[in-house]
Symmetry: C2
Subunit: 257 residues, 2 copies
C-alpha cells in the first residue's frame, strides 16, 4: 500500500481536466512543479456535468470517519460547465443555468459546510470557469466524426453565461476563482475565430490554452493562496546534497511539505 | 482528504524517475493512459542511490498495520543505478557493485518477503536498469556548469556492469525487468555518440529516450503482467454514455479498476 507521504492537489472536472494529463496539459504542468511535494490527482470525467459530479465528489473525498492515514487535499479545483452549457435541444448533458449554480454551490459546500460528512476546512477551493467555445471549430470537428454530427450542441453565449455564473458562485461562497473564460477570451483578442490558437477542437484546450490556464492558476495561488505555491513548500525528502553521508538515516526522515 | 478510489502505480527511483513528470516523460506517459484507472505516483529522488533508497522505501510504502483505507500499489518500478555507478574517486553517491546488488535485493524483499513489515504480495515489481551513459555528452554538460566541473564522474563500462547486475537481481528474485540499458543501446546502433538522440545531457533521458522506455515497459506489462495493461482495466467511474440519465446515482458508484 502507498503510505500517506505527500498531500494532494485534486483536479476535479470534466474532459478539460481529464485531458490535462497529456503532455503540456494542466495536470502534467502541475505534477512537474509539485513533484516531491504534493501529488496531483486527475479526477477528470469526460462528458460529466455538475449533476453527476455530486455523487462522484462524495466518493472521491473521504468522510471524516475514514480520514485516518489518508492524504489531505490541500487544493481542490472544480472545473465544470462545458457540458452543463450544452444546448438543451440536442443534448442530455445539459443542466439549466439555475441548477448549474445550485450544483456548483453544493459541490463547494460538500467541503466547506461544517455539517457535511466531507467537511475539510483546510482544503482550499479554486473554481475554474468553463472556457469560451469556438463554435465554428467545434462544428468542423463534429462534421468529421463518424457518423458526421451536424447539430451544433454548444453556443458561445450559453457558455459565457455559465462562466459568469461560476464566478458568481465562487464569490458568494468565498472561494477562489480562475476565470479561464476571460483569460482565454482576452488572449484571443476577443475574436471567436482566434480561439483556435488555444483549442484543439473548439471545445477542448490545446497545449497553448493549458499554458494560459496554468499561468493564471499559479498567479491566483501566488496572490490568494501563497502558502500553497510550490516554491513555498519543502520537498518531503531532502535534497541528496543535504543527506549526511556518514550517517544517512536520520536525514532521510520524511517532512511535511 | 482524498478517498481511496484509485489504486496506484508507484515509480520509485532517482532523477531519471523524478524528471519523468515533464512533458513526454515516463510518469506523464503512464498518467495519460492510466487516468481514471490508477494514479501514477512520482517517487523519484534526484541524486539518490540504493543505500538511501532503503529508508525512503520503508516510509513511502505503508506498513501492514497502516494499510486500512490506503490505495494499493499494483505496480512498483524500481529504477536505481545511475548514481550508484558513479566513479568512486570523485563521487560520494557511489555504491560498490556488490552493495548495489545487496541493496536492490533488499528493496525487492521489503515488498516480497512475507516477514517484512511492508509485505504486499499483490504488488508487482518491475526493476528498470540504468540507461547507458554518453560520457562525451555528459562531460560537455559538466563543463558548462557554474563553476565548470571537469572531472568525469561516470563511466560507460561501470554503468553497463550495474545494469547487468540489476537484471540478474530481478531474475534471481523472480520479478520483472525492463532493460533500459539494452533497449537504448540498441536504439543507438550500439554507438555511444548516437545516444545523444535519446539523452538530454548524456546521463538523463529526453522525450525520445522516455518514449523507448515507455514502449518497453508497456511491452513487458503486456506479456508478463497483462492484467495490469491499461486496456484491461475499468474506468473507476463509468463513461458518461453509460450513466442512466433518468436515475443517475446507482450508475455512478465507483468500481474496482
Amino acid at each position: 500500500m502507498a503510505a500517506n507521504v505527500q498531500d494532494t492537489i485534486m483536479l476535479f472536472g470534466d474532459s478539460l481536466t481529464e485531458m490535462g494529463s497529456e503532455a503540456g496539459g494542466i495536470v502534467q504542468r502541475l505534477s512537474a512543479v509539485y513533484k516531491r511535494k504534493l501529488d496531483v490527482l486527475n479526477r477528470g470525467f469526460s462528458g460529466y456535468n455538475t449533476r453527476w459530479a455530486i455523487p462522484v465528489l462524495e466518493q472521491i473525498l473521504a468522510k471524516k470517519s475514514e480520514q485516518a492515514n489518508l492524504p489531505a487535499v490541500r487544493l481542490l479545483t472544480i472545473w465544470f460547465g462545458a457540458n452543463d452549457a450544452a444546448v438543451p435541444e440536442t443534448h442530455r448533458q445539459h443542466i439549466p443555468l439555475a441548477y448549474y449554480t445550485d450544483n456548483l454551490t453544493k459541490l463547494i459546500r460538500l467541503v466547506k459546510d461544517p455539517s457535511s460528512a466531507h467537511y475539510s476546512p483546510d482544503t482550499k477551493i479554486v473554481v475554474i470557469t468553463p472556457p469560451p467555445v469556438n463554435t465554428e471549430q467545434w462544428a468542423e470537428k463534429k462534421a468529421t466524426m463518424d457518423p458526421p454530427d451536424n447539430q451544433l450542441d454548444r453556443s458561445f453565449e450559453a457558455t459565457k453565461a455559465y462562466a459568469r455564473a461560476a464566478k458568481e458562485v465562487a464569490a458568494r461562497e468565498g472561494v477562489e476563482v480562475v476565470d479561464a473564460w476571460t483569460v482565454l477570451w482576452k488572449a484571443a483578442g476577443e475574436v471567436e475565430g482566434q480561439l483556435s490558437q488555444f483549442m484543439s477542437d473548439g471545445l477542448h484546450l490545446n497545449e497553448n490554452g493549458y499554458e494560459i490556464l496554468y499561468n493564471e492558476l499559479i498567479s491566483v495561488i501566488s496572490t490568494k493562496l501563497p502558502e500553497l505555491h510550490y516554491e513555498k513548500l519543502n520537498d518531503v525528502f531532502v535534497s541528496y546534497r543535504d543527506i549526511d553521508y556518514a550517517n544517512p538515516d536520520p536525514s532521510l526522515q520524511k517532512r511535511k511539505a
